[in-house]
């Protein structure tokens, strides 16, 4: 599970946010475009691209994209 590829896939789920502004240190839930729909996209993306299940707890307890990556990549 490549970190940069995950970041790119994560950023792809946003329609209006500039992908260049999204980094592993971005606090994703503070992004203006973050919503329940984007959360569902992230869950589906991780399932499709990496066969990884992201839960509500994963999203709740991860502050940054990097923290979310570390949390699920170890499984």
């Amino acid at each position: 599970m490549d970190k940069d590829a995950f970041l790119k896939s994560f950023a792809d789920q946003f329609d209006d946010t500039d992908p260049a502004s999204i980094t592993l240190d971005t606090k994703f839930k503070e992004l203006e475009e973050w919503s329940s729909m984007v959360a569902l996209m992230i869950i589906a993306m991780a399932d499709e691209n990496y066969n990884k299940k992201i839960t509500g707890a994963d999203l709740r307890e991860s502050g940054t994209i990097g923290q979310l990556y570390e949390r699920i990549s170890s499984r």
Partner: protein, 272 residues
């Protein structure tokens, strides 16, 4: 059983547990029903409620150990089971060949998978439609072809659909589509079977506390779930809430009702 004698001529008898007068139109005494999805959640609760109302049950599901547990709980004199995967034609044929003529059928099988539109795949879409919708249609087709539902006796078919057939919850297209298809089909089947006095009705529950709901809730944040619960004036439903309405629809108390759909939602949809 407890007896209480007052000073007058009245003796009040209180039966331990649930007891229903067999002459009541709400009683299912002397009737036998097939319940698909009998191993857990709403289907299992329906099996219990049918037996409490005096009826007998043939449970269908894929997980044999859970079916056996259901029979153990309800007693062999009240319940039996056939292990079956109704998404397979051969299992449908096997089930319908095994069962006697029955007074009704309940379809309470269902799986749910969330996916935003742009991630949908044919394979998953077909799996959901197969388990939630095709299984219902093809089982009823086989049962009617082989005359396994008693005619001219107000027999009753109850299909457990979902409130998602009416509302557009994000990421829930596959499940919503399967339940919407079931609701539409129910009216057609009701019309086709009306001449035989076989009734067909649908129940559309909103959020009910089951394993299926837990799977969905696991994907959501606690805040989202708490906020959702607050929107239910009477809280989330229980499997028993759905089972009780099902028993009513199976009983002669509802013999003038067919082709209808009942929303069970604790006031969620209309009480704003």
């Amino acid at each position: 059983m407890h007896e209480f004698s007052g000073n007058g001529n009245i003796t009040l008898i209180i039966q331990d547990g649930f007891h229903m007068d067999q002459s009541s139109p709400f009683s299912l005494s002397g009737k036998i029903f097939v319940v698909a999805g009998a191993s857990s959640g709403i289907g299992l609760a329906i099996c219990h409620s049918i037996v409490k109302a005096g009826g007998k049950v043939i449970g269908l599901a894929r997980r044999e150990e859970r079916l056996q547990a259901m029979v153990n709980e309800l007693g062999k004199e009240n319940a039996s089971y056939i292990k079956a995967d109704l998404s397979k034609d051969e299992d449908i044929t096997h089930v319908v060949d095994q069962i006697p003529e029955v007074n009704g059928y309940v379809h309470a099988t269902g799986i749910i998978k969330l996916s935003p539109l742009k991630f949908l795949k044919r394979e998953t879409l077909e799996e959901i439609m197969n388990v939630n919708y095709f299984s219902m249609v093809l089982t009823l087709a086989e049962m009617t072809k082989k005359k396994k539902i008693k005619k001219q006796a107000y027999s009753s078919i109850v299909l457990i659909s979902s409130i998602n057939a009416l509302v557009g919850s994000k990421s829930n297209l596959m499940y919503a589509g399967s339940k919407g298809a079931m609701s539409s089909a129910s009216r057609v089947i009701a019309n086709e079977l009306a001449g035989q006095k076989i009734r067909v009705n649908t129940i559309k529950p909103a959020m009910v506390d089951t394993d299926l709901a837990s799977d969905v809730q696991d994907l959501l944040s606690k805040e989202t779930i708490d906020k959702d619960k607050e929107s239910y004036p009477f809280g989330y439903g229980t499997p028993e809430d759905v089972a009780n309405t099902t028993v009513f629809l199976l009983s002669d108390a509802s013999k003038w009702i067919t082709g209808q759909s009942f929303i069970l939602d604790g006031g969620w949809l209309n009480l704003v």
